[in-house]
């Protein structure tokens, strides 16, 4: 039991000593300062990893606008057809054949 306790204590002490050192090494890696950017860099001169293609975003924007506009026009047309059908039926029932009345 004493041997187990001794090994456990050594492991905990080792972790306690090594953990801050490992964390410090990790932070040092994360905090590596980037070289400061001192002037404007045109988008096409950025490294490839920092460049984002504009075309998919642009195409998506235009496609969504077209879908919204034509989708909405279609819903208006569908709703108008349905209401005009109801109107025709009600006009017939009311003995008035003219749906515009």
């Amino acid at each position: 039991m004493n041997a187990v306790m001794r090994v456990g204590t050594i492991v905990i002490l080792a972790l306690a000593i090594l953990a801050p050192a490992a964390a410090a090494a990790g932070w040092a890696h994360v905090d590596q300062p980037q070289p400061p950017q001192e002037e404007f860099i045109p988008i096409d001169e950025l490294p490839p990893g920092d460049q984002m293609p504009a075309a998919p975003l642009l195409i998506a924007a235009y496609a969504i606008v077209w879908l919204v506009v034509f989708g909405y026009l279609w819903t208006i047309w569908r709703r108008l057809s349905s209401v005009e059908q109801d109107l025709g039926e009600l006009s017939r029932r009311a003995g008035d054949g003219d749906p515009e009345a």
Binding site: I43, A54, A61, V68, V69, L73, S91, A94
Partner: protein, 223 residues
């Protein structure tokens, strides 16, 4: 609007809208943003029409509220729905542009935050009309007037608080600062305005037909 004017405007609007990408493709590239700046030609007209729709809804609601005009209420309802539709266009195209230009999809800065609040107010108007029950037209009308009062704050927010969003001076100076972009911008704005007029006429007719259906239902019940 008579049928011939409606048909003519529909054709003009759809042809202008279909031809807009050709104009936009010929427009020069903006020097810092490049290709992605071309979202501008649908994004800004989308917001112009959204603001116009909110004004139409607000003014028509005021007329309905103070003069008891059902036709004005129908116009307000139609305009409110269009305000939501064009607001969606602005709120979708904006983040797609921002992702490339600003590096983020969204920023909780004054213009964007106030724009989404305006859109939510118009959504609230429609929900109130749909589920509010009797008398909701009056309540919704006050909401539309409140939304209309909100528009100048949304528009001038970029001048009052200096934010990441461009100021209002960009579009008024476009004819001088970038003449090559001005033509396509005017073309797209007119296309959106014509489409808005056509959609508003059709949507108002739908409301009028619904009112007529309701009137006939009541007449049949009384027989």
């Amino acid at each position: 609007m008579n049928q011939r004017t409606f048909a003519g405007l529909s054709i003009v609007g759809l042809v202008m809208f279909a031809a807009a990408p050709l104009w936009i493709a010929r427009a020069p590239y903006e020097s810092t943003m490049g290709l992605i700046q071309k979202i501008f030609y649908f994004h800004v007209p989308g917001w112009i029409v959204m603001f116009l729709a909110v004004f139409v809804a607000g003014i028509a609601s005021a007329i309905h509220l103070f003069r008891q005009k059902p036709a004005a209420d129908r116009l307000a309802h139609a305009a409110a729905e269009l305000a939501v539709i064009f607001g969606i266009i602005g709120l979708v195209t904006g983040p797609l542009w921002a992702r490339k230009a600003w590096g983020v999809w969204w920023q909780w800065e004054p213009r964007l935050t106030m724009s989404i609040i305006l859109e939510l107010i118009m959504c609230a108007y429609l929900l109130l009309r749909r589920y509010g029950g009797p008398g909701s037209d009056k309540l919704a009308a006050t909401l539309a007037i409140f939304a209309m009062a909100n528009v100048p704050f949304v528009y001038y927010s970029v001048n009052i608080w200096r934010t990441i969003h461009p100021a209002t001076s960009v579009v008024p100076q476009l004819a001088v600062s970038a003449p090559g972009m001005f033509g396509p911008f005017v073309w797209c704005s007119v296309a959106f305005l014509v489409l808005f007029t056509v959609m508003l006429a059709a949507r108002t007719r739908l409301e009028a037909q619904r009112a007529e259906v309701e009137r006939l239902h009541l007449a049949l019940e009384e027989q």
